[in-house]
C-alpha cells in the first residue's frame, strides 16, 4: 500500500458512512444491539475491510487470508455491515437478525457467519487468540496477518494484558491490534469507571510498537497501517482516538448509547445527520 488517491479516500469515507447507516438500521430493526461502539469503529472497519486486509469474499476459508477478530464482539452490527457490503453474504440475510432462524448471531460466531474468523462476545480474548493465530502463520511460513479490534473498556480486564505480553514475547509483528479508544463504556467514561493509565506507555513498556492515530481520519488510518506493516520485530497497536456514537449528534460521547436502540424518530434523525434518505 502506498499513498492513496483522493478518490480512494472519498470512497472509503463513503463506505464508513454506509457502515454507520447499516449498523443503525440493523440495530433498530432487531430492537437490540450496541450502536455507540459500532459508530466509533466505522472508519477503522472501512479501511480494514475495503483497503488493508487481503481477503476473498468468494472463499472465506482461504488459508492465507488475513484474519480479523472483533474482540469487542458487541459491535457485531458494524462487522456484519462490513462483511455484507464486502460481499460475504447478501444483506437480506440480516433482515431477521435476532430471530432464531437467522444464522447470524447477536455476537459474532465463526461457525455461522461467513467471513467471521473468530467467535467473540465476552470481552478480552482478541489479543491472546490473535497471538495464537500469528504464531500459526509464522510456523507455517505464511505471510498473512491477524488484525484485532479491541475496546478501551475491555482493557480493564487482565486477559488482554496476558495476551499482550505473550504477543510481545514472541515478537509477533504479524499481529496488529487496533484500540477503539472512545473513552466511553456501559456505565460511563472509561477514565471514571476504571482509569487505564497512560495507554501508550503501557503497551510500549511490554514491547509493542504503538502508533497513535485519529480513528476517524481515513488517510491517517491508512498511513498508520502502512507504518505498522513496516515493523518487523514486535506486535503493533494503533491507539485510535475515536468518538463513541460518532456521526450522530445525540449519541456522541453518551454512555446511554453503548447498548440502547434508537426508536423510529431517533433513527430518522440519525440517518438524516448521516446524509441518508429518511426512509427508516
Amino acid at each position: 500500500m502506498t499513498e492513496i488517491s483522493r478518490q480512494k479516500s472519498t470512497e472509503l469515507t463513503e463506505v464508513a458512512r454506509k457502515l454507520r447507516v447499516d449498523s443503525l438500521r440493523l440495530i433498530h430493526r432487531r430492537g437490540s444491539g450496541h450502536p455507540g461502539g459500532a459508530l466509533s469503529a466505522a472508519e477503522i472497519m472501512a479501511v480494514l475491510y475495503f483497503h488493508v486486509m487481503n481477503i476473498d469474499p468468494s472463499n472465506p476459508e482461504w488459508e492465507e487470508r488475513d484474519r480479523f477478530i472483533l474482540s469487542k464482539g458487541h459491535a457485531s452490527a458494524v462487522l456484519y455491515s462490513a462483511l455484507t457490503r464486502r460481499g460475504f453474504f447478501p444483506i437480506e440475510e440480516l433482515d431477521n437478525w435476532g430471530e432464531v432462524e437467522c444464522r447470524h448471531q447477536g455476537h459474532p460466531d465463526r461457525l455461522k457467519t461467513p467471513g467471521v474468523d473468530m467467535t467473540s462476545g465476552l470481552l478480552g480474548h482478541g489479543v491472546a487468540v490473535g497471538a495464537g493465530l500469528a504464531l500459526a502463520a509464522r510456523r507455517k511460513g505464511q505471510n498473512w496477518r491477524t488484525y484485532v479490534l479491541l475496546g478501551d473498556g475491555e482493557c480493564q480486564g487482565g486477559i488482554v494484558w496476558e495476551g499482550a505480553v505473550t504477543a510481545a514475547k514472541f515478537h509477533l509483528s504479524n499481529l496488529v491490534a487496533i484500540l477503539d479508544n472512545n473513552d466511553v463504556q456501559l456505565d460511563g467514561f472509561v477514565h471514571d469507571v476504571m482509569p487505564l493509565g497512560d495507554l501508550r506507555s503501557r503497551w510500549e513498556s511490554i514491547g509493542w510498537h504503538v502508533i497513535e492515530v485519529n480513528g476517524h481520519d481515513i488517510r491517517d488510518l491508512i498511513a498508520a497501517f502502512n507504518q505498522a506493516h513496516e515493523v518487523k520485530d514486535r506486535p503493533v497497536i494503533l491507539i485510535a482516538r475515536t468518538t463513541k456514537g460518532k456521526g450522530v449528534s445525540y449519541m456522541e460521547n453518551q454512555s446511554y448509547w453503548h447498548g440502547n436502540v434508537p426508536n423510529v424518530e431517533q433513527l430518522a434523525q440519525a440517518l438524516q445527520e448521516l446524509g441518508e434518505v429518511n426512509n427508516g
Partner: protein
C-alpha cells in the same frame, strides 16, 4: 510407587507422537517440569510455547493455533484450567469448536502435598456441562499414553484428565480404546461397579474382596465421561440390577451423577456413588492414605456394593 506416574507416561507419549505428527504443538504455563510436557519441549523446542503463569491466556493462544491449522495440546493443572480458564474453554474451545486438547494434570487429589487449592475434585463437573467437549479419564499410566494419538486424531476439543501420580495398573496395552465405549474388565452378575481413573484399580481390588464374600461384581471402566456410554450403563442395570460408581472426584456432577442420570431415565436400579462427599480435602502424607481418608478406599467401594445389594429387589 513402583509404577510409572501417569504424567510421565503422558509426557513421553506426547513427545513420541510429536515425531509422527508435525501439526502437534504444545503449550504450558510454567509447569512443564510438573506436567512433564518438558519431554515434548526438549524434543521440539520450536513447537513448544511457554505462556507463563496465565492459564486463560494459554487456552486463547491455543485457540488461535488451532484455527491456524495446528493441534495444540495445552498443559497445566486441572484445578486452574477447569476453574480460572473455564470461560476460555467454554467460549473459545467449546462454543467456537476449536481443535484444542486440554491435558489437565495434577487431577483429583494427586498433588497430595499441596492441599485443597491444588486439588481438582470438581473439574469433571465443570467441563462435563460444556456442550461439544469430549472428556477422557485414563485409569493408569499406560492408558494415558495410549490416549494421546487417539485424542490427537479425534477432530474437536478434548479434556484429558491426568494424574500426577501412578495408579494401580489395569490397562492391557493391546486392548482397544475407543472414545465413548466403556470397557468391561470383570464380568459379574450381582452388581456392576462403574469406575474411572484411579478408582478403577481400587475397584478391581474391591471386586476380588467381594468375590471372597460370595458376591459377583462386574467391573466397567468408564474412561469416557462424555459422551457417556449409555448403552453399556443400561445393559449393566438390566443384567445386574444394581450399580456402584467410583471416582476420584466430588460425588456432585461427575461420573456418579452422569451414571445416575442415565439409570434414572432408562432402567432405575439401586445406585450408590463412591467419591468425595462434598468437602475440601486436607493435605496428606501420601496419596494412598489421603484417598483412603477422603472416602475413596477399597472398603468404601465394597461397603457401597453391600449397601446397594440391600436395595435390590
Amino acid at each position: 510407587m513402583a509404577e510409572m506416574a501417569m504424567r510421565e507416561a503422558y509426557g513421553r507419549a506426547l513427545a513420541e507422537y510429536g515425531d509422527k505428527n508435525p501439526l502437534i504443538v504444545a503449550l504450558d504455563v510454567d509447569t512443564s517440569a510438573s506436567t512433564l510436557s518438558n519431554f515434548f519441549a526438549k524434543r521440539f523446542p520450536e513447537r513448544f510455547y511457554n505462556i507463563g503463569i496465565a492459564e486463560p491466556c494459554m487456552v486463547d493462544v491455543a485457540t488461535g493455533l488451532a484455527m491456524g491449522g495446528f493441534i495444540p495440546f495445552i498443559n497445566g493443572f486441572a484445578s486452574i484450567l477447569s476453574l480460572r480458564a473455564l470461560e476460555q474453554i467454554r467460549s473459545c474451545v467449546c462454543y467456537a469448536n476449536t481443535n484444542v486438547k486440554i491435558a489437565a494434570s495434577y487431577a483429583g487429589l494427586s498433588d497430595f502435598k499441596d492441599g485443597a487449592t491444588h486439588y481438582s475434585i470438581s473439574d469433571l463437573a465443570n467441563v462435563r456441562a460444556l456442550p461439544g467437549l469430549t472428556v477422557i479419564v485414563p485409569a493408569d499410566a499406560a492408558e494415558a499414553a495410549d490416549w494421546v494419538p487417539i485424542i490427537a486424531e479425534h477432530q474437536g476439543p478434548v479434556y484429558l484428565r491426568i494424574s500426577r501420580a501412578g495408579a494401580i495398573p489395569v490397562h492391557q496395552p493391546l486392548s482397544k480404546l475407543e472414545i465413548g465405549k466403556a470397557r468391561t474388565l470383570r464380568n459379574g452378575s450381582d452388581l456392576t461397579i462403574i469406575a474411572m481413573g484411579s478408582m478403577v484399580g481400587r475397584s478391581l481390588q474391591a471386586v476380588e474382596a467381594l468375590a471372597a464374600m460370595g458376591i459377583s461384581a462386574r467391573l466397567v471402566e468408564m474412561h469416557t465421561l462424555k459422551p457417556i456410554d449409555r448403552e453399556t450403563i443400561v445393559q449393566c442395570a438390566e443384567e445386574t440390577g444394581a450399580i456402584v460408581t467410583a471416582e476420584e472426584h466430588t460425588i456432585i456432577g461427575g461420573l456418579g451423577s452422569a451414571v445416575a442420570e442415565v439409570v434414572c431415565e432408562t432402567r432405575p436400579v439401586p445406585l450408590q456413588r463412591v467419591g468425595i462427599n462434598d468437602f475440601f480435602c486436607p493435605t496428606g502424607r501420601n496419596l494412598d492414605t489421603l484417598m483412603d481418608t477422603c472416602g475413596l478406599s477399597v472398603a468404601a467401594v465394597t461397603s457401597a456394593a453391600q449397601q446397594v445389594l440391600k436395595g435390590k429387589k
